[in-house]
Amino acid sequence: MNNNVIECINLTHYYGKRLIYKDLNFNVPKGKILGLLGKNGTGKTTTINILSGYLKPFSGKCLIFNQEANAIRPETRKRIGLLIEGHVQYQFMNIEQIEKFYSAFFPGQWKREAYYGLMEKLKVAPKQKINKMSNGQRSQVALGLILAQNPELLVLDDFSLGLDPGYRRLFVEYLRDYAKSENKTVFLTSHIIQDMEQLIDDCIIMDYGKILVQMPVKNLLSTIKRYRCYVPERQVVKEIIEKLYHPEKHNILLEFYSFEPIEEVEKILKKECIDFKNLTGENINLEDAFIGLTGKY
């Protein structure tokens, strides 16, 4: 039986002549929290737009609950909670009105108390208009509405955009507890990687035009290492070495990232004729792993 809530098959997209990605494939199994990580312009929002049916891909297809993303039936949309980049909500409504409006579309499913529970923490008046709120407060309104909708799948586009550390933490904690306790599937993007580490089970790291890594965060962090060694000042190091990511030389210090164990790395360095000494490898966090794989530039 197919356990995937989201399936993207051979997705290719261009904006004009610019290739965003080619033959992108990934699945999100039920109950997993998957984070799509990538630098600006690598196609994170493009992927969310395709998934939510607001962009027709050049080729390939995306299935959500086994339905084509651009033709999802209304009954299926009830099962999907969507957070648009920047926590966009109806600016002209107030806290009370927006809840009343949405609740009409989800009879028997709507959890009013989940929304108002979160609003109480914000200490905002029920008549407060959304356009008079800060980014952080708006993010909580958007989250509250998703929690009240109680969907099986949550699609969140750059949830940390414009939030200060307090609201980011609040958002992450609320979301993590909710998703784990209710066995929800979450697909999300964020440009703040440290938030993701606390939240996601699996990650996809994208670079321009391709997926670099797709694996559980635990596996990624237990295998990828940052290596450092000393090399002669005149040592020339190639920019691209197979299995070693983004080698960078600062005077006599050579730094790079790799999934290979230290013994294997030693062999690679020797093969590349690099005269190294004191090679050490260290475990890193998700943000460092992301930078190690995608580079700083």
């Binding site: 962009l55 027709k56 651009n70 949309r77 999907i80 909500q89 600016q91 409504m93 009343k100 009409a104």
Partner: protein, 223 residues
């Protein structure tokens, strides 16, 4: 669902439509009072004679008001949906997307039809004791294309505002301007009677155009 959609549209546009309604009805009331005043001062016979000889319906002050109200209504209703692509939220609601759009257009058209009918009633009642039946009918027939233009202008503007591509939007403005011109070719009493059926067909057909913009929005079309 329809109730919830109307609720949202009212929150968004209630103030605009209240003010616009007052303006539209105010103009109709003003013209009624104005004609009654002329009839009092100059006499009814002279008023009729002037209207028949000059072929001027004497209500031209009203001419562009329904159109302005209609265009403004569509902007007030659909521009907030396009602000930061809020329309995505609307289209994500668990309701058939064409029905969603249809309900939103129905709300706007209902408002305009309602204002138009009340305006007509005000005009009719204002003239009932100063004009003969034929002139009364002639005046209302002259005003009918302007009110239809209001609804048509609303539907065209919705089509334009919902369009995500700027290039296409410019083309749409040109098409809309040409079609709307048909509603304002002449002010002569009864001149539109033979072709009124055409305007009555064009107006509801314009509502279909918004589906094209919706489809472009869903495909993520950009310039």
């Amino acid at each position: 669902m329809l109730k919830a959609i109307f609720y949202k549209e009212w929150i968004k546009t209630g103030l605009y439509f209240s003010l616009a309604g007052l303006v539209m009805l105010g103009f109709a009331g003003y013209i009624g009072i104005y004609l009654n005043r002329i009839a009092d001062l100059a006499g009814m016979n002279q008023l009729w004679e002037y209207m028949l000889s000059s072929n001027e319906p004497m209500i031209t002050l009203l001419k562009y008001i329904p159109l302005i109200v209609g265009i403004g209504g569509a902007v007030a209703q659909f521009a907030p949906e396009m602000y930061r692509k809020c329309l995505k939220l609307t289209l994500h609601l668990p309701y058939e997307q064409h029905k969603l759009l249809g309900s939103m257009l129905l709300y706007g058209c209902s408002m305009l039809v309602c204002f138009s009918l009340i305006s007509f009633l005000i005009l009719y009642l204002s003239y009932s004791n100063i004009l003969p039946k034929e002139l009364q009918t002639g005046l209302l027939e002259s005003a009918l294309p302007w009110y239809l233009a209001g609804i048509c202008g609303y539907l065209f503007t919705a089509w334009i505002v919902l369009q995500p591509s700027t290039k296409k939007r410019i083309l749409q403005i040109i098409v809309a301007a040409f079609v709307l011109k048909i509603f304002f070719i002449t002010d002569c009493l009864g001149a539109y009677m033979p072709s009124l059926w055409l305007l009555l067909i064009i107006t509801p057909l314009t509502s279909i155009l918004s589906i094209i913009s919706l489809s472009d929005f869903k495909e993520g079309r950009q310039d």
